[in-house]
Symmetry: C2
Amino acid sequence: MFKYSIRSLLLPIALSFFCVTHSQADVLSANEQVQIEALKNTALNSELSYQIVESLTTEVGHRLMGSEGDKKAIKWAIAKMHSLGFDKVWTEEISGPKWIRGEASARITSPFPQEVVVIALGGSVGTGEKGIEAPVVHFKTFADLKKAPEGSLLGKIAFVSYQMTRHIDGDGYGAAVGTRVAGASVAAEKGAIALIMRSVGTDNNRIAHTGVMRYKDKVKKIPAAALSNPDADLLVNQFSRGKPVSFYLRMTSSNPHGETVKSANVIGEITGSEFPNEIVAIGAHLDSWDVGTGALDDGIGVAMVLASAHYIAQLPKRPKKTLRVILFAAEEVGLLGAKAYIKKHETKMVNHVIGAEWDFGLGRIYKMTPGVGASSLNGIRELAQVLAPMGVALAPTNKARAQSDMSLLSDAGMPSINFSPDGSQYFDYHHTENDTLDKVDALALKQNTAVYTVFAYFATQANINFRK
Amino acid sequence: MFKYSIRSLLLPIALSFFCVTHSQADVLSANEQVQIEALKNTALNSELSYQIVESLTTEVGHRLMGSEGDKKAIKWAIAKMHSLGFDKVWTEEISGPKWIRGEASARITSPFPQEVVVIALGGSVGTGEKGIEAPVVHFKTFADLKKAPEGSLLGKIAFVSYQMTRHIDGDGYGAAVGTRVAGASVAAEKGAIALIMRSVGTDNNRIAHTGVMRYKDKVKKIPAAALSNPDADLLVNQFSRGKPVSFYLRMTSSNPHGETVKSANVIGEITGSEFPNEIVAIGAHLDSWDVGTGALDDGIGVAMVLASAHYIAQLPKRPKKTLRVILFAAEEVGLLGAKAYIKKHETKMVNHVIGAEWDFGLGRIYKMTPGVGASSLNGIRELAQVLAPMGVALAPTNKARAQSDMSLLSDAGMPSINFSPDGSQYFDYHHTENDTLDKVDALALKQNTAVYTVFAYFATQANINFRK
């Protein structure tokens, strides 16, 4: 009985292995199967992607859309693509609003005066040179702030102390980021003169996290800043004494009305030898916030897709389809590069046969989730087979959008793969001064580059229509 | 054979246990043995020491000698001692040089311009309002800087990139701190116009570590600053390109000639019922650097010794000897409080029967090292017996000085115990903005408070002359 039950379990497994082996032969030739393993090993043993992110962070540094750093980064990316053996390299200009960070300082002025570490949220207006001082009203969550009666914050500063939770997939971000994006206008509608919030981050460093915020139309624009986690704790602890709390905030950030700045998507290709008009797209964003050196966000993504393309460019023969690397501009300030890309390539979106972006996490990829036509899932399982020995599991769902910028390409019909890395440490550093080279996990970067290399090779060679 | 060998091993162990039990009865009565266990459990289960450090960091914050924070801290400590049931509370004024931190900013100006995070070393002169820009010469170690030929740094900035190593006992600090204390004058003797160095710290945060520095007499005083570890990495990486490196430094710190500021040691006692003139001293320093909130350095020490004294003050009967808690002033700027204490109490140092300070680490105490008369070592072994179940091992040496301020009291003849905690994380936060309440290990703090409570009770009750 026992033996039989084992057999009845083993039989389908053995069959499925057989099927995979059989169909793999259909998709990749024996030669290509050797090649894909060789590429994987090349990536796993190469320092190239680390060298690329070291170069970007050392020679360029941070690169807010339109800044000097951004201009340098565009030149850097063009030069890097040429030196890595790309066949075509070009830029596609975009424009967007100018924002100047300026300086930010703050202190609790009552009941126990202490200086605190704050950072302006991206896009926030300033306080004026003299700063503002006002009583503070404490809300534990954004929902609580939303519930505050109209007019109840008149002349006051709203403080939301909600703390983001840590998850491997960054799941805590969604619950925390609402305050950052929309909190200022909600507070302003109730009369507040500023919004301060606990940083959207999982660390306990005295370094605050920035990130984009938006104002509602027709609502007064008030300054919005994030406190470092230890400073948010301090403010909460001061509230616990039951005495009135007041706060001084000075931010010289400005958002010059009407002024725009320019940037550009940087695009490079390894041109396909058989189907040059069929595009496999891998991407990352080249811009970063104007703090740190953007090593994780999204330097490693840039490094990974550039290195992957280089390994494929080094093969004796060009891939069948075209491999396109898109380094998007202005992701941080609202996916401006991605929006422009879709507009420009609207009629050719149908040629984008599949795509993947890296813009999250710093640990090893442990999961891949497809978003492809049902008929091509068998092909995806073969890709998964090559990646499985590296600990990458195939998710049982098929609804993924690509990450970040490329999610818009997914929405425009591009079949996509979402490779999920361990992101449990990502929000310790995300959008902070602390996003620097030393945070890069060099071993994980090798693995992740290998995953993107394998994906890129598989997708450019495989005889699969991922839309079907 | 096997049985006999086991027996031959066990016999001396059994005897030694017997001996300890026997002699323990000589030192502490049965009642006192019950009491010491009860005190240990009280401390292990109480939140008091955490509440004290929460109070100090929330209501006072940082407290550089002579600052507003320092003045508040002195008032805070007096009030806290009264509320905790001390019999006597007083202050002993001290004075020392005034130093103003001012602002500090810096950037690499060539070959790849980037802003970096720096902090002025404590006591450094400034650069003048306009700052200075100069070529940088890189030294891997302080020894290398010392070997540089006279005049070779004329008009240049010296950069020492040596990185402190992490050890449980903080052993890496000694090898790294020389540059901080003496580096500026060594560089100045060779013509340098400023010293920049990698922070003495084990973290990789974009937060630099301050700490005291000294100028040699008759050598030009040049500005001295520490870079955060990621910024030191960046500078080293820029050097690796083989191009000339230049650096801009602006520090408005100042050291007004002749101006002094005042502070005070805060001292409290639980007066002995039988030998009030015999003093068991436990201490910590009340001052901190003017960054962070001095939670670890030395807020937890302050909390630990105050809580320990409180538990003993709560006993139905006063201890036999006097328990004195000394909260030293101005440790950070050069043990000024300890020096003043010794001067003031010179004739009464002989009454200090034993002492211990906490001014290192944040993990659990794992080792105690005595520095007592050889004849009293048996008594120390009995104390060790009470602490052993908490994982505290008795070191096999007997040459310890007390920590920090009290090392000067040890040098003046006071028998001492050095309780060593796990300090492997300490230099992640030491002398930085990041030294805040959230870094306190609440469980370790309970254990460590229990150790100091047990020590204090044992020392005030035991019929031992620790000098002999």
